[in-house]
Amino acid sequence: MAETNRGTFFSGAGLVWKWQRLVWWLFFVCLIFGFFSTHEMTERASSLLNNSVAAERLVKGFDVSAFITLQQLPDSPLEIQQHSIAHFSLVFAVFMLFATGGILAAYVLGEKPTTTAFFEAAGHHFWRFFRLLIYLVVVLLPIAGLAAASNAMYTHIQDQSISPYPGDHFAEAAVVIILLLLIIVRVWFDMAQVIAVADDEKKMHRALRRAFTLFRRNFFSLIWLYLRVSIIAWLLFALGLHIWMYHLHPQSVVAAFLLSQLMILTWIGTRLWQRASEAIWYRNYQANQVPSPAWSPTPEPMYMPVAAEPQP
């Protein structure tokens, strides 16, 4: 299984690379939404800052007090941002719900994702995935409860101990466990989506049940498949953030933009890597299944009628 898994891991990356137009497409949609959500802020900030000497405080380094002062101005260019960003992020999530069908169709069926095929698949699976989303919310509720309980436990430990470390260590462990649980749930629901696309399963509860059975039987290989990609994604993200914060020259606006977008691009890429790997895993799984022989009754012993003794 390990050998197969390693192959799936790299094949997934290969598939994402092969049809990288999907990554680019999602990236540009995300970028356009990002620009839309910040357009008004940029306009207002430009009118305030473009001809101001004080703007240097944000360019040569980043004076946090100048940034906060901007927020405190009666006509602050930043006050509208939170709503705007939240709205566009929500719209992007809906878009991703729609696009997932098309993406998975390409990965599962292994065919070139033409525009027509992509949108047909996206539309075909949209409501199914919407129903899955509702199931997902239900499944996430206990995890949210666990997070709340962990928080209460953390507070309790902090109250009990004079040293801050026990509470901190507990919090770190709780975060790891909750993240792991979230990955487990994500693998399960991703598998349900793959099954829905691969087998054109209409009943999402059935897809979930099948995915659960499959996941349970191949728990460690599937988790490891996802976990590896997640670790790579987070490492790349942390590396990008580190370079941005500590190594880029404060005045390098273009370089900062390119770096930040590279981070988003790799994030999208690694997420699709997970989806592609799982799709390939499922294809292989199906291919490796030795079809059970059709039932046939055990041939009954043929009792040939004993030939009558020839009559003398």
Binding site: V53, S65, T69, S89, Q158, Y165
Partner: protein, 654 residues
Amino acid sequence: MQLTKVFALAAASAIFCGPIFSQATAPAASVTKTLSTRIVAYQIDAKLDPAKHTIAASETLTYKNLTGQPQQTFPFHLYLNAFQPQSTFMTEVRRSGTRGNGPGTDWDPKHFGSITIDKLEVAGAGDLTSKMQFVQPDDKNADDHTVVQITLPKPIAPGASVEFHIAFHDVLPKVVERTGYAHDFDMVGQWFPKVGVWWKNAWNCHQFHANTEFFADFGTFDVKITVPQNEIVGAGGDLVSSATNSDGSKTLTYHSEDVHDFSWTASPSFTLVEDSWTGSQGPVKISLLMSPGHESSTQRYITAAKGSLRLFDEWYGPYPYDRLTMVDPPHGGADAGGMEYPTLITLGTAVHMPKGMLEPEIVTEHEFGHQYWYGMVATNEFEEAWLDEGINSYTEVKVMDALYGKSTSVLNFPFAQMGESGLQQIGYLSDPDKDPISRFAWQFYNSNSYGGITYSKTASMLLTLEKVIGEDTLRQALHTYFMRYRFTHPTGEDFLKTIEEVSGKDLRWYFNQAVYGTQVLDYSIGDAHSDPLKWWDTPAHGAKKNDKDEIYRTYVTVVRKGDFQFPVDLDVKFDDGSTATEHWDGQDRWIRYHYDRKARIASAQIDAHNQITMDRDYFNNSFIEDTNPRAAHKLRNIWVFASEWLSQLLAWLT
């Protein structure tokens, strides 16, 4: 800091400064002449029950009547009674918030605190316990028991003394508003019946409010503290003796003089770090009590304390005490942090405090600064909180900037910076126009306005004043103010008059707006552009002319957008490198300047040196002809990234 270093420091200080718990020598001044007019002498014998966080104590207060008239009625503060749901303090917290707690804060029974007088006797008058009466001079809230009043059978003559013998017990709250317990840590502040101050020909003994601090007379304190053997104690006094009791506890005796309060702390989990610093008045022993997990901040505290001691000594006046005790509250006890008591301050840090975040240094500097502005210059914190918090915030800017850099004294990361004056500016601008600086502390609109105005507006007001009288003159004024009023209770007018006297300027026009008014200061470049002088005779109108010969008329209009009037300087630069400077008294709503030159405008800027820190919007103080979109693009980068990142997180759900 590693434990070995702690031991090394302790050993070094033991070698060079004597044994850790030796009897400290009394300040030299006490041998000759007292630093303060000693009105009160407290002798307190207190026993801490660390399991219940209660204190049983007896107090003898000798009050010397220097009021110049007979006194028969004496009010006492019982601050710990504020921590009860019906108190004025809690009512105000619920209504408008207080430090660390917003409006609507719910009552938590763990924060219950109380101080109960079990018996009150007056020498020569007997037991007057039944004569005690709770009074509410500020709001008539009958449920508030933070001030008690006792009327003697006969008045105390001027110059005579009266001796109160009080038996009382405290219930400490879980840390709230500077005092209480957290785990095995007990911060014991404002814990004994403290007599009010005869001031401005009346008793000044306010109830404890959400936004108020304290006010008391100078004198001496002899305090015995009995605690279990394993407790490590820090206190605002010199350790006189330490004795082991038959029950296994120990009793530590402290003496302090020329102070107006006494606080102490105890915890078996403290690590004691000792150091010393020598100033113009001799050596000062620094005792730092560190809580578990905060070791990495130890040296940061010490460095900040020594730097503050040095600069205050140089700039404002000598530090006359021989000790400074610094207390680092444990995690969960942050509400006890960031507080000042005479010769004892509480600090604040976190387990993983990044080096670029200078919170431990700021807290250390700020609370040490209060040794001057509150400790020695003992202003009325109830009525004129700006005189301690505000002046202290200003000196915080000066000291922190000198020690850690002007633009990096709050945050110092490669990707983000902040200086102290910026910190004060944003504090002020968060709510700039609801209250004047001079308002009584409990009468502010809410806790945000109190903090922004009292601390930050005062600091910004003094930083802006530097532009009028000069930084050195203001420093000299603060020095004069300190030396003149230390160990007394000066008023706001005393402070303002000292500045006027030292600067030799009538500054009423400024103080009336900045201290007594709520006007907001905002000047801006309303318009700046160049136009050909003979605009009708340009190529656009068919004329053929060499552009170099063209004479332009440049207009620059400065607008006063706020109602605060302040003189401003205008610097104009032209594209041939020439400049022009104007000084405007800022009285009118706007003023327009024009220049006829063979050059067009390059830039116009008011307050080019960023001295007017009270300016609400400094982004509109300038105009550059060449548009530079970098700042807007930089902000856009950040927000686009944030937007995309949030999108990806939400998309993960799908």
